[in-house]
Amino acid sequence: MAHFEIKDLTFSYPEAGKNALEGVSLAIRQGEYITVCGKSGSGKTTLMRHLKTVLTPHGCRTGEVLFEGRPLGEVSQREQSAKIGYVMQNPDNQIVTDKVWHELAFGLESLGTDQRTMRLRVAEMASYFGIQTWFHKNVTELSGGQKQLLNLASIMAMQPTVLILDEPTSQLDPIAAADFLNTVRKINLELGTTVILSEHRLEEVFPAADRVVVVEGGRIIAVEPPRAIGERLRELKSDMLVSLPSPVQIYYGTGSFLECPLTVREGRNWLSREMADRPLTTVSLPEEEAYREPSKPALELKEVWFRYEKELPDVLKGVSLKVEAASLHGIVGGNGTGKSTMLKSVCGVCKPYRGKVFLEGKRIEKYKAGELFENCLAMLPQDPQSLFVKKTVRADLEEMLSGRGLKKEEREEKIARLAEECAVTELLDAHPYDLSGGEQQRAALAKVLLCDPGILLLDEPTKGIDSFFKEKLARILKRLNRRGVTILMVSHDVEFCARYADAVSMFFDGGVITTNTPRRFFSQNSFYTTAANRMSRHLFPDAVTNEDVIALCRQNSADEDAIALRRQDANDEKMSALHGQNKGDI
């Protein structure tokens, strides 16, 4: 019997023109690990919310959802609360009480579990998730990763049989995200809990998943094991291919006949086998110009020191940085190293106690109060939501232009132009809080750009947005560069920096350690580098992006005969594997 069975589910939100879900059917076995992926707005969340009655959205619905063979509506609230665990996107929103220990017990309290059992379960959960050390803390003291782990633990305390996670790591940094996803995998492996997870970052999830469900426009377009999903997507000519992990993308980019790799390790081995009988003629890309420090930087920091309070330690310890005009400069580095603080010191929110900041060759103190943020500098904060102060995106954009002595037509014209540029024209009349992460990011960018900044500071612009929005964002940024805007970006997203930045700096312990062009920068690193580089560095030391690796593979392609032979081999292998499987089934 299937654990969850969705039968021909169609759903539309009230007053929405089209169906949010259309004819969705899916059976999920007990103990399975299902990954749901799709662009934002494709209906992933709507689908997952249908798996728990209290979260099911209002609207028009046909079809049914069966839980353990019974219609979901007939399963009592009490049973659903305990057996179906649901983790949402924002770690902060889900925490109800002020103390970690209380939060852990919240679900058990609702179920009316007796004191003794509660104590045991809470102790068990705290030990399993490694929460003992912060058991007595206030939730405000926790990091984002800890908060999300707490949400998971407090749900696991009710001993659910199925765990539904809706983009649980979109607000976390990569290390915390990997940690969280490993815990989910551990739960799946050790307790046999069914996992249904939707995610943008597929690198960690892919190897763990039993099946991948791809949702597009409210329909399920593919349900396959991870190794086969790429093939299926290619048949469908779906653009979802670009959101698959690097090894998979490179595999399909080269048109190999071997088995599809999922992890960097597999990718490395696959590449070795793929290249085994080919003469490696070209192993590196055309030589790039070496990185030169700009002589006339648009933005310069000279040994900037900063601390938040007198007694606290220094956050910035002599940061020196030069950013070339009209370029995209990326800064990568771990959590809490002071990257965001550096951006704040550039825009004058944090005033350094030593060192100087120059904008266009002029010291920041020399700018008058109003001058700085008009036509000169603007910053997009990490949480784009915090930028919005009005009821609609349009009002928010108009607010930026008020008091500038512009005529109404001029204002409207300007807003329309920028909305077009940032691809938010259709969103102008929506409430900023109703937008998805990627949409918020673009609307916020539009708002910031209304300042006409010459220098744009971005704090984690790719956080929580999917690969399509990332590409869109990159295009916008590149266009700005061409118009002469200098962009300084702080990011955890190594792949994004490798692909689009003009220069990349490593930030560590309150200072910039090194700056170089992305290719030189990432090919020097062995940990802090892209997946493509990690899987191919033994053959192509300076290939950094997926495209680099694919291009090099093509350049070294073998002659026709060898390819034909290889195709034959691959087919034989597949056939024998198929036979083996059939035997196993019998």
Binding site: V96, T97, H102, E109, G112, G370, F373, E399
Partner: protein, 295 residues
């Protein structure tokens, strides 16, 4: 070792008892004890910072006494008259001092409460009386710091585009302030909806909710209750024997101090300082245990 490791109900019992005593007792010796006990105990809890607080209280007490004596003119012992011709009497000064001391002791007891009783304990105690209310309290305790953090975040974001509370003209600043305030209200509403989802999803609203607590009532708590009730029984006997009765108006009449009354004073002092003594005893025991480990 400290009193905060005891069960919250014990904390509550103790502080209610000593606060009541501090407010009700007018007798000078009892008053002195009410003043000295929290004085010593809060220093034991907080060290030098408490002492600074106590010294700051002294001028306030003096000021209150003078204020009281300037506006109340009862009593039979005139000391002179002030510039508008009103009598200043010894009784009114004495009673003003009594009230000042009472207020100061209550303040000091509250500083002890602040050090001993955490928000957890208050939530727990509320939970025994009104479970739902205590949950709301916990939610509120979570919400307030969250709103503060978000407000700071919005302000920084606005500052970074030149729309903070510290840029532009006064009118502009006011506009910025109201803008930020209104969006924070919207944000709070929005988030409460999300939090409600998470609560419902974890079974909030089912019947038979039970409050979880991390506290246990053990032997140490029981013996503390026994000790405290014994001491306070003695004090209550003293009250019944008119030991605490004192008149200030129109004439100061104090119950004479007899050998028996010393027993009552001792009981009151012991009751008030019981947590302090236990703390000292605990520290001493810990000291001994570390000593023996080295041998």
């Amino acid at each position: 070792m400290r009193f905060d490791s005891y069960h919250p109900a014990i904390n509550l019992l103790f502080f209610v008892a000593v606060l009541a005593a501090a407010v009700l007792f007018d007798h000078p010796v009892f008053l002195l004890l009410s003043y000295l006990c929290p004085f010593v105990y809060s220093i034991g809890l907080k060290g030098r910072r408490a002492l600074v607080f106590h010294l700051l209280l002294l001028p306030l007490m003096a000021a209150y006494t003078l204020y009281y004596a300037a506006y109340n003119h009862f009593g039979i012992t005139p000391l002179g008259s002030n510039f508008i011709g009103n009598q200043i009497t010894a009784e009114s000064i004495a009673y003003g001092a009594v009230r000042a001391i009472k207020a100061a002791s209550v303040c000091m007891w509250f500083s002890c409460i602040h050090a001993v009783v955490s928000s957890d304990k208050i939530v727990y105690l509320f939970g025994r009386i009104a479970p739902r209310l205590s949950l709301y309290l916990a939610i509120l305790l979570r919400l307030v710091p969250r709103i503060k953090t978000y407000a700071a975040k919005v302000h920084t974001a606005q500052k970074c585009i030149g729309r903070g509370l510290d840029s532009g003209s006064i009118l502009r600043r006011c506009r910025n302030f109201f803008r930020i305030a209104s969006i924070i209200i919207t944000w709070t509403m929005e988030n409460l909806i999300r939090t409600a989802d998470s609560m419902k999803s974890r079974g909030y609203g089912l019947k038979k909710r039970r409050a979880f607590s991390i506290y246990r009532f053990d032997y140490r708590d029981r013996s503390f209750v026994l000790g405290l009730s014994f001491a306070f029984t003695v004090v209550v006997m003293g009250v019944l024997l008119d030991q605490t009765r004192t008149l200030y108006d129109p004439e100061i009449i104090i119950n004479p101090i007899t050998p028996l009354s010393i027993v009552f004073y001792a009981a009151y002092g012991a009751a008030c300082l019981m947590p302090f003594f236990l703390q000292l005893a605990g520290e001493w025991r810990f000291f001994l245990s570390t000593q023996s480990r080295h041998l």
